[in-house]
């Protein structure tokens, strides 16, 4: 989404971004997701062995209660597929997350890809995986993500708190998912690493 904001005045910049970058649910098609084409692994991923790709944690996505995406991390998913996934996940959340308790896990699948999602405070968290990262592995992973967010924010976050701690959350995610594979699940270890300390201290 190329934007030319350089010449814009700040005010314009302020107004323009939300319109284009946030993905309001209302703009999505209400039709059910359909299969359109095969996903072929491409775009710089050719070097990776098939096994590695197949077992990836394909996406981590965090959205606010209105369905605007706050954080997204795609792994091994071609860029042109991102929009499909965003729309699919946000719609899934809009349809099912109303009234769901904090951290109650919901599940979905699309072909052989699994999706586990939940709500935490005012944000909803979606994880997409395949093969090794099936619904149960994703449940483990989403538990790690939610605890990390809770640790950083001190409690189930409101959108405000989440955004206040945005940078730290990004660093946490970076330690949790590394190139599509779950990495550090231990809290203490994670906290050390985001402070640039070795995983195990002396």
């Amino acid at each position: 989404m190329p934007r030319t904001a350089g010449s814009c005045c700040f005010k314009f910049f302020f107004c323009a971004i939300p319109l284009s970058i946030y993905l309001p649910i209302g703009s999505f098609s209400s039709s059910s997701p359909r299969v359109c084409r095969s996903l072929t692994w491409k775009g710089g991923q050719s070097f990776i062995n098939t096994e590695g790709i197949k077992k990836m944690l394909l996406a981590v996505l965090i959205a606010n209660s209105d369905g605007n995406i706050l954080v997204e991390r795609f792994n091994g998913v071609p860029g042109e597929e991102w929009l499909h996934w965003r729309s699919f996940l946000v719609k899934l959340g809009a349809d099912n997350l109303k009234g769901v308790k904090n951290e109650e896990l919901l599940v979905a699948c699309h072909k052989s890809v699994y999706i586990v999602y939940t709500v935490l405070g005012h944000v909803s968290i979606y994880l997409v995986g395949k093969d090794e990262y099936d619904e149960l592995a994703l449940s483990e992973a989403i538990f790690v993500v939610t605890s990390a967010i809770k640790d950083v924010c001190g409690k189930p976050p409101t959108e405000r708190i989440f955004l206040d701690k945005y940078g730290r959350i990004c660093l946490c995610l970076d330690e949790i998912v590394w190139k599509g594979l779950l990495e550090n699940i231990d809290k203490e270890r994670r906290q050390r690493l985001i402070r640039l300390k070795p995983p195990t201290g002396f």
């Binding site: 934007r3 030319t4 939300p18 970058i21 359109c36 072909k111 483990e140 405000r160 940078g167």
Partner: protein, 1176 residues
């Protein structure tokens, strides 16, 4: 989004980022800093480069840095009007440049940590112009948090993600560097400039062996892996990783320290452990090198590392390697697998994924054929695998169950699956000897061997009681996999598969070794255990999550066996489908499961059809009509001779359904009531009915085994003499399947909608042409009456008016029916003539002369051409003049060396060359004499292996499903469908009438290209003929592929090959195709034909083939127009009766002709129907 009280994502970036230092002073300072300090990020020498290189790199980077900073300085001179300013990306970038220069100040560090870096993270990519400042920070700054951010951003710059430079990042797209236009204008910083510097820096840091530096070393290594796309970096990464492992891997620590967070050990060993972790984690992100013993050695060493994450990654690497070379891995693991070894320790490791990897590793090794001579090793790994069945984590336990069941990532092998089921039902888990356990009394109970099946069933049952949806979903999935293995076991007839036997006897046999008995008095059979499990599974349908329910239904379908009654499953599906929450994708997934189930157990054809029927009636608007029709066909063939009638009935039940009753809720739970209350569903149902009618017409003869050309019991003349009612009765007793189909079609010809009536009439014609007597005469009579509109009164009782005006004839089919009747008339009159001639010859006792035979043969050919316009018939066998003509036709063919399949149109025949060729030199094509049901069945069951499947979207979908593919993104954008290959779902044994397909551009329609309506979408000009009906017709204004076998003639011998079992495959236009497939199994022909439709997606190619053909044959014939013809499309030509034309070539019942003079429309050449021109 806007939370008035709180900070939103926008507020975050729009709030004042920094109380940034005064622009002028900062910029001056930074400028000074960057120029005066050679120690800025680039001062540290790179060990691997020469001094000259260093200098040049340093100067370049310094140049970049100073450019960026000066640009920033220029930019920040813009006076800010507002105190509280929103922050743009540009400002953030400037702040980084400025603060980097003053990073030694606490204030700057705070700004970076609390304001600039978090806000920058909001953008989903990092632009290269920030790299110099980031590198400078990395070089100069001591603050760990800043450094952590620096590594984070450097890692995000590194991946090459294409032109947009977008990496998966945050929620806001980076302004694509345009925001930094002013900076770029000066500096022109690109990825190509900075990436080598970043890589150099990270590589240097990753090889820094300073113990104090090792935390940064790990982060540098991690960041480097993001650049592993490039081969050079990959090489470097391998060197670094193996370099680290060479130093730290050979002295593994005992894991007992520090696993559960308990710290221990000296500093040196901790550093070593950290480096081990970093190296193995990086190695996990690099491509595997299966043949490399060092790679394997290091990975195996990792299993003993003290860091639990490193152990997990090692196990994952080793488990993948084990699938490629289990022997080498088993040998390398050696003692680790033995009791007390490192692998045993993994059982107690906290990390779930590590145990999952262990399960996979054990599975790969314990099933390896290459280790057959080492049963001891296999037993060790099998024992480990079975122990994982007791794992407290569902994830691990389920993985172990799947491994036991023989599921593999690659294509499942039936044998392995069957063996998996056998293992599960027969084998026992013996707890390993635990020498350390002193209390034998206590341990004796725990160590009692347990049957795997009982263990698994108990575990699954408890999982199904869970409240967690992922657990329910996963458990249902495991049951589904269990069903697959069970089906495989049954299909292979695995020895002792009897499920009625007491399972405890198996454990007793095993226990005898231990001298214990476990018999508890109650008889547990596999069947009873399964029944108990399935009871729990069924209750899970009550789950409110539709995805869980879908998985449960799939599991039930897989666990359904052909012998069991499926009424419960059917009603469950019926009530489920009434829930509007079901998405089309999910429904189609279940439909595909039916396909897979059929493939595993062809005996279930009828059962599955019955289930599929529910989909057709309940959710016609949501399912993929192509996939459903494919299921009909595969099941029809798979049902075998005995089940064909039932299979056809199951399909045609769709026709018996009353029209949907809007607003009526009474039928919600009934299977036989249509649930199509909304217009879209009603429309979809109508299309499905059309498809069913068409299917019936196409396949009734196959299902009934009734063919005009091989009627087993030719009807006596007496039968023909009966009056209509008696004849119908006689016919129905002779072949109830066909009679039944006829009745249904006749009914449809009256009571259906306009489109359905047309297809019914066409289907009846197809049946009339293909069936012998008395069916043909029966249909003829019916069509005749239909054309007159006189019979309708007879059907008035059953007629349910749909409110349409049915036209002057009462049915509105008059114009459509007359050509159909004409062809039947022609056939009957020609038969009469032949009988007359034969009688004359017999009476006069004279031989048939060659001219007479020629005339007869020409009539035969003409009728054959005519018939071929309506539907496919095997040219070599079909006798439009009746069975009596066979002998005479053969005589003429033999005399003139005419091959049956190519007939007169064979160029050799046309030019008379064939007369000169010795018969022996022309190999007679071997044709199957009879419809080989077995062959067809074999093809049907082995369809997935056939190349033909790849051509049709439905087949692709089924194949993809069967192969377990499916990482496709969910679609929210229908336009993507246009990229689908335009192909019909043509298959092996039946002629498809309507195979032209176009990219499906109609969102509301079913995506099926094989359903009749899909042709309608492209045949727009048909409407001019048939009052706007959107349906292909026999007489469409285009040279459609409808029912033509012409390409067989045109294609020439080069395209003809003998059919060779199920292995014939279609690979392309010019690929070998069967010359004479079994009757009704001519997809190859049709597939070719479908390509020949110039309107279809492949039109250009098809024309190419015509061109070739034309140039090769090169004989332009002349002809005369018999009737007036009005062009219905741009590519057609107006004709006036008597006009002389040159026939260029023929395509699907159309001649491409050239006039000698242009007509009033100015056109000289175009397509005209073959029937309108007589060849001279």
């Amino acid at each position: 989004m806007a939370d008035s009280s709180g900070t939103t994502l926008m507020d975050l970036i729009s709030s004042d980022p920094t109380s940034a230092p005064p622009p002028s002073s900062t910029s001056t300072q930074s400028s000074t800093a960057s120029h005066q300090r050679p120690a800025s990020p680039f001062s540290k020498p790179v060990t691997a480069t020469t001094t000259t290189d260093r200098k040049s790199k340093r100067s370049t980077l310094m140049q970049i840095q100073s450019d960026a900073v000066s640009a920033a300085r220029a930019a920040v001179r813009i006076p800010h009007k507002h105190k509280k300013k929103p922050v743009s990306y540009t400002q953030l970038a400037r702040s980084i440049h400025e603060l980097a220069a003053s990073s030694d100040q606490k204030k700057s560090q705070r700004q970076l940590v609390h304001h600039v870096f978090p806000k920058l993270a909001v953008y989903n990519s990092v632009d290269p112009s920030l790299a110099p400042s980031l590198l400078m920070l990395g070089q100069q700054c001591e603050d760990r948090t800043i450094l952590r951010y620096v590594y984070y951003y450097l890692a995000r710059i590194l991946p090459d993600t294409g032109a947009q430079g977008l990496t998966p990042g945050g929620g806001i797209p980076t302004p694509n560097w345009d925001a930094l236009a002013d900076i770029d204008a000066v500096g022109g910083v690109t990825r190509a400039d900075v990436v080598p510097r970043i890589l150099d820096r990270l590589s240097t840091e990753a090889t820094n062996s300073d113990p104090e530096f090792h935390a940064r070393r790990l982060q540098a290594l991690k960041a480097l892996t993001y650049a592993s796309d490039s081969p050079e970096i990959l090489q470097k990464l391998y060197e670094i990783v193996f370099g680290i492992l060479d130093k730290v891997a050979d002295t593994p620590d005992k894991r007992k320290k520090g696993i559960f967070g308990a710290k221990g050990g000296d500093k040196e060993s901790i550093i070593r452990s950290n480096l081990q972790y970093g190296a193995i984690s990086a190695l996990r992100r690099l491509p595997l090198d299966p043949g490399n013993p060092i790679f394997l050695h290091r990975a195996v060493q990792g299993v003993s590392f003290s860091d639990p994450v490193a152990v997990r990654h090692s196990l994952e690497i080793v488990s993948v390697l084990a699938t490629k070379d289990p022997y080498a891995v088993a040998m390398a693991l050696g003692k680790l697998a033995q009791p007390g070894g490192a692998l045993q320790d993994v059982l107690h490791l906290h990390d779930v994924l590590a145990r999952v990897a262990l399960a996979r590793l054990c599975h790969a090794i314990s099933r390896a054929k290459s280790l057959d001579e080492r049963p001891d090793i296999k037993a060790q790994f099998t024992s480990l695998l079975y122990q994982l069945l007791l794992d407290p984590s569902d994830r691990v336990c389920f993985e172990a169950i799947l491994c036991v069941l023989g599921k593999s990532d690659a294509a499942d092998r039936t044998e392995e699956r069957a063996l998996g089921w056998y293992r599960l039902t027969r084998e026992v888990l013996k707890a390993p000897e635990a020498p350390s356990v002193k209390d034998k009394d206590k341990s004796s109970k725990a160590r009692r061997p347990q049957l795997l099946i009982k263990l698994v069933m108990r575990r699954l049952e408890s999982s199904f009681r869970s409240f967690s949806r992922p657990v329910l979903h996963a458990a249902a999935r495991v049951v589904q996999e269990m069903g697959k293995s069970r089906a495989a076991a049954f299909s292979l007839g695995v020895h002792e598969i009897d499920e009625g036997g007491d399972v405890n006897t198996f454990s007793e046999n095993n226990e005898q070794e231990d001298g214990k008995s476990q018999h508890e008095g109650n008889k547990d059979t596999v069947a009873s255990l399964l029944a108990s499990l399935m009871e729990v599974v069924r209750t899970t349908v009550a789950c409110e999550c539709v995805y869980v329910r879908a998985m449960v239904i799939k599991a039930l379908i897989w666990m359904q066996s052909p012998q069991e009654t499926f009424a419960e499953l059917e009603s469950m599906i019926a009530s489920e489908l009434s829930d509007p929450a079901w998405s089309a994708a999910l429904l189609n997934d279940i439909l595909l499961t039916l396909h897979a189930r059929f493939k595993a157990t062809p005996d279930m054809a009828v059962t599955l059809l019955e289930i599929a029927r529910v989909f057709a009636t309940k959710v016609p608007g949501k399912i993929d009509a192509d996939v459903l029709q494919l299921l009909w066909k595969t099941c029809l063939v798979g049902a075998g001779p005995d089940g064909k009638h039932t299979a056809l009935e199951a399909v045609t039940i769709v026709l018996d359904l009353p029209p949907p009753q809007p607003g009526s809720m009474s039928g919600l739970t009934s299977i036989d009531r249509v649930f199509a209350t909304d217009p879209k569903s009603a429309l979809a149902l109508q299309r499905l009915v059309q498809a069913a009618v068409w299917f019936l017409g196409e396949n009734a003869n196959y299902a009934a085994s009734e063919y005009a050309w091989e009627s087993a019991t030719p009807p006596g003349t007496a039968l023909m003499m009966l009056d209509a009612d008696k004849m119908v009765a006689a016919a129905s007793s002779r072949n109830p399947t066909l009679a039944n189909a006829l009745t249904r079609l006749q009914r449809c010809a009256f009571i259906g909608s306009w489109e359905v009536r047309i297809i019914a009439a066409q289907a009846l014609t197809t049946m009339a042409i293909r069936s012998g007597e008395p069916y043909r005469i029966q249909i003829y009579e019916f069509l005749h009456a239909l054309a007159q509109g006189g019979v309708q009164s007879q059907f008035s009782d059953m007629h349910i008016s749909n409110g349409e005006d049915q036209g002057a004839s009462g049915t509105g089919l008059g114009s459509l029916l007359s050509p159909m009747l004409k062809v039947l008339d022609d056939m009957y009159s020609a038969q009469d003539d032949l009988i007359k001639d034969m009688r004359n010859h017999d009476n006069a006792q004279k031989e048939w002369t060659d001219d007479e035979l020629k005339k007869l043969y020409e009539t035969h050919e003409r009728l054959l051409d005519l018939v071929s316009l309506f539907c496919y018939v095997p040219r070599s066998k079909y006798l439009p003049l009746g069975p009596t003509s066979a002998k005479l036709i053969d005589i003429y063919r033999n005399r003139h060396n005419i091959t049956a399949s190519s007939g007169m149109r064979d160029p050799a025949v046309a030019t008379g060359i064939s007369e000169l060729i010795y018969e022996a030199t022309k190999p007679a094509p071997v044709e199957p004499d009879n419809l080989d049901d077995d062959l067809v069945n074999a093809w049907a069951t082995g369809l997935a292996d056939d190349g033909l499947w790849n051509n049709a979207p439905a087949m692709n979908r089924v194949n993809e499903f069967l192969a377990g593919a499916g990482t496709d993104a969910p679609d929210v954008d229908d336009e993507n469908i246009t990229s689908r290959p335009s192909m019909s779902y043509e298959d092996m044994w039946a002629k498809t009438l309507l195979e032209t397909a176009e990219a499906d551009d109609d969102d509301g329609r079913s995506s099926g290209s094989s359903s009749p309506d899909s042709v309608g979408s492209v045949e727009t000009s048909i409407s001019s003929h048939f009052g706007g009906m959107n349906y292909p017709s026999l007489f469409s204004s285009k040279p459609s592929t409808y029912g033509s076998s012409q390409p067989v003639e045109k294609s020439g011998t080069s395209r003809h090959r003998k059919p060779s079992g199920g292995s014939n495959s279609y690979e392309g236009y010019g690929s070998p195709i069967t010359e004479e497939p079994p009757p009704y199994s001519s997809p190859v022909h049709q597939r070719y034909e479908s390509f020949e439709n110039p309107l279809a997606g492949q039109g250009s190619s098809s024309f190419d083939s015509h061109e070739e053909e034309r140039s090769s044959s090169g004989n332009v014939q002349s002809g005369t127009a018999l009737y007036d013809f009005t062009a219905g499309g741009d590519d057609e030509l107006n004709l006036t009766a008597g006009e002389e034309v040159e026939i260029e070539y023929e395509v699907d019942g159309w001649f491409y002709v050239k006039k000698k003079r242009a007509g009033r429309d100015g056109k000289l050449a175009g397509l005209v129907p073959v029937l309108y021109v007589s060849q001279s």
